[in-house]
Symmetry: C2
DNA sequence: CCCTAGATCTAGCAATGCTAGATTCGATAC
DNA sequence: GTATCGAATCTAGCATTGCTAGATCTAGGG
């Protein structure tokens, strides 16, 4: 059975290659440039091969999104553990906004473009849970209140990321804005 | 010159008809169903007529977005003026989330789908300024600090709207979440 | 060495955004 | 009233897209 095993492995490698290539293409030329033909060209297979791995183009973008969310979760974790607990909230916020700024196309796929990725249900992918868990952890143990705080600050961060990306907010006042945000959430009434 | 005046007026009416029809189509069937052919059919003109009014499909969606933002600004204003000043923040928040829930396609065009609408520059459309101004007003007079608070709470509201719409947040805890949000921003340190 | 099953490609369909060129319509001048 | 000219509008079609059916090739077992 080693033959079919190898086939399985090669198939998995190609699956990952498609995701990686789609992400690179999106980061360098924008998501509207990620077409089935261009993507098939870059991975050096024909278009139908893509459909052997994914149901459609949207599924490919969703796969990129999930991968990127996992990556961001890891960066949030690193940032949180690198500072004393009292500074965890600020560290998480900074890491979040840095990720959004560093990978705009990835961030789009994660939170702006249409998607079929479920955030709430039973089939929510593990990386999504991990990312949310990191934000909650900045507030302390996992309970209802901290989860609510996490949802709220996440919303604020998303808003800031979008506004920053669209050039609405000047980058210079960013530190001050972060101070205000962190202050609000640190002083949250019990 | 009354002839050309009438032409101008009819042209403006048709311009509005296109926007209105596009919005209706989006609300009833989703934005992916708003194609040039379907839209042209509904307004009972041929496709090229659309391009006599708008540069492309995205410009039509942007026009819908601006109109809807203006509508939301008016609803925020009504909500704010209907309650004592001390409850303005909560009133604005509720009105914002209600609008997002009541007009999901409009909300998508406003804040989720790709757009060329500028929020920050000199050519920012008046309705956008009005909407932002309403949120600022909930905090008091227009100054830097209140503008920052407005940006932050706006981000939080946007996050909540998206999460609500995608089914992530259960609707039942909504009141409690609003209490938390309003409490955070009402207790903002000077 | 052949034969089958799976993997892969070629070729093409339907739908999309957008536009050039033909055609129709309406206002103006005589 | 009619001819003329310009604007308004449509017909027809192009290029590109996502996606797929059917042909072709290839690897692995008998």
């Amino acid at each position: 059975m080693t033959a079919t095993e190898r086939r399985e492995r090669q198939r998995a490698e190609r699956h990952q290659l498609i995701i990686t290539t789609a992400r690179e293409l999106a980061e360098s030329e924008g998501w509207e440039a990620v077409t089935t033909r261009k993507l098939a060209d870059k991975v050096e297979y024909s278009q139908p091969v893509l459909y052997g791995h994914f149901a459609n183009m949207e599924a490919i973008r969703d796969a990129v999104a999930v991968e990127c969310i996992g990556e961001m979760a890891e960066e949030l974790r690193q940032a949180r553990l690198a500072v004393p607990e009292s500074e965890a909230i600020r560290a998480i916020c900074t890491a979040y906004l840095d990720f959004a700024a560093a990978h705009p196309a990835a961030y789009q796929a994660m939170f702006s473009l249409p998607t079929k990725v479920k955030w709430a249900s039973a089939e929510t992918p593990a990386p999504l849970r991990a990312a949310f868990g990191e934000i909650v952890s900045a507030f302390g143990p996992f309970n209802d209140r901290n989860a609510e705080l996490a949802e709220l600050i996440w919303g604020s961060l998303h808003g800031m990321a979008v506004l920053l990306n669209s050039g609405r907010i000047p980058e210079e006042a960013q530190e001050q804005r972060l101070d205000l945000l962190v202050g609000l959430f640190a002083n949250a009434p019990e």
